[in-house]
């Protein structure tokens, strides 16, 4: 910086003109959410939890394998099941997620062998009490209904069948899964 530039405050004027230019010619980057602009999360955004509703039975797909319970780092999933004496199959009685404890890592949907649990792309949910964000099985199924009504079909969450993971790592159900 030579003396003349220093006396004439050249660099300060440059800065001032940059802000003036931005004011006069550049567009806004902020948006008017939620009135005018909608925010569409990217596919695979880890938002509100839901249990996929089986279109045939109307119940959850969950087979109570307890994998999500065990993989959850914050231990916010609680599952209770009963074993059917005749078929020796498990049936979910209770499926609870404490959304306030959840860290939204998405491990549960990745380990689920039947793609029953999903973190949907729905993110605009709030509650005034803790109970409102304590998702029971019914609430989780309702979440799914709410989400899938607006989602593009067939819906395939990226974490159900992660891109680039060798197929042999995936269980059979997931390997052949194409979406709901």
């Amino acid at each position: 910086m030579n003396l003349l530039q220093k006396i004439l405050l050249i660099e300060i004027w440059k800065g001032l003109f940059l802000t003036l230019k931005k004011m006069l010619f550049e567009r806004f980057v902020t948006i008017q959410y939620p009135e005018k602009d909608k925010v569409i999360p990217a596919p695979g955004f880890r938002g509100r939890h839901a249990l996929v509703r089986d279109p045939n039975t109307g119940d959850t797909l969950c087979i109570a394998c307890m994998r999500c319970v065990r993989v959850c780092p914050s231990q916010c999933i609680k599952v209770e099941y009963e074993v059917d004496k005749e078929t020796n199959k498990r049936r979910v009685v209770k499926y609870e997620i404490e959304a306030l404890r959840c860290v939204y890592c998405g491990y549960c949907e990745e380990v689920c062998p039947v793609n029953a649990i999903v973190l949907t792309e729905f993110f605009e949910y709030v509650g005034f009490t803790r109970d409102e964000l304590f998702f029971t099985k019914e609430k989780l199924l309702a979440n799914w209904d709410e989400f899938i009504a607006k989602a593009k079909r067939p819906y395939l969450n990226p974490f159900w069948k992660p891109r680039g993971i060798p197929e042999k790592f995936l269980p059979a159900r997931k390997r052949n899964f194409t979406g709901v």
């Binding site: 231990q75 890592c105 998405g106 062998p113 990226p158 891109r163 269980p171």
Partner: protein, 408 residues
Amino acid sequence: MSLYVEVVKNGNGKSESEYFTINMGPHHPSTHGVLRLVLELDGETIVKCDPRIGYLHRGVEKLAEHLNYNQTIVLSDRLDYIASAANNIAFCLAFEKLLGITPPRRARLIRTIVNEMARISSHLLWLATHALDIGAMTVFLYCFRDREWLLSIFEKVCGARLTHSYVRVGGVRLDFTQEIIDELRRFTEEFPQRILDYETLIDVNRIWLKRTRGVAVVDAETAINLGLTGPVLRGSGVPYDVRKFRPYDAYDEVEFEVPVGERGDTYDRYKVRMKELHQSNWIIKQCLDKLKEVEGEPVLAEGAPDLLLPSRIREPEPKPHPKKGFIFTGKELPVVPPGEAFASIESPKGELAVYVVSDGGPNPWRLRIRTPSFVHISAIPELAKGHMIADLVAIIGTLDVVLGDCDR
């Protein structure tokens, strides 16, 4: 009023001089979180500075002893939440060393890209807050404008904007799509232009120069002694960069320079970081080109452990149904060999080192995280001595501390 001036007494009980004790933080606007500094001032000059940390202490090291290896990655997101991808990588590198697996090349390239994205996003946030601390408000918003773009790319990559949990032991969780690659290309094309915006506002601005030149000068020897790493150390002229010294991921494949400063003052550190932005941009470009070579390759290594290693913290659960396939047979799960491993990466803030000890169980026996912010905060008393309060704000800014990183 005796309330205003505290008389500091020496051993004899004789009043030596009158200092003004002020408590800066933990809810001060420019302490970047919950840092608390107890200052003793002579006028406005700092005589003594005592940082008190621990307000964000969550016991990550203790918690990690009760979670399995992949689960601890989720904890690592919350350390340096500005650049969580870098933390993920540090953890994974240590675990991979322990397990003896190497991720496939595509995964390594993707990790490098993600790491550099994290670096850019962290440096942008640093510049934003540093400039805001010194009073340049507009730089703050321009930086956030561009960081927003990067975060939305992160959202496309892994479904989360801040706490990615994207990297996992043995690779990454999802492959890049073509859309992400295109968007990243557009970002790398446009980003140098954006850097010009910030530089026009502050680079040669006389007020900026006055506020940063000669503030918190550290020479190379002292910087090493204080344990400073990353851009702070490089600002003092030591070209120590873990990416060059102990290359990990794909850093041995890409070309980049390590910018160093000369005088070791706040302005040099600013310059180093601004140059690093360009370098990171360049690295991303190179990696995107190289990604073409490994199109269609898997992003997870063969022996990568499943997310679901049994963990000790839980009550014993009934065994899962035995089914065919890799992750369903408990026997095939890779056993973590007992031993220890040390991995360190060049996180945006400095050297992030992870030392893990295993006893052969599913959980780490001990997980030690050496975070750059912790060391940098410990250097504040040394750097701040003799400066003014306004400089202290600049010092906290130039060290680029994140309290989640410091307190763990």
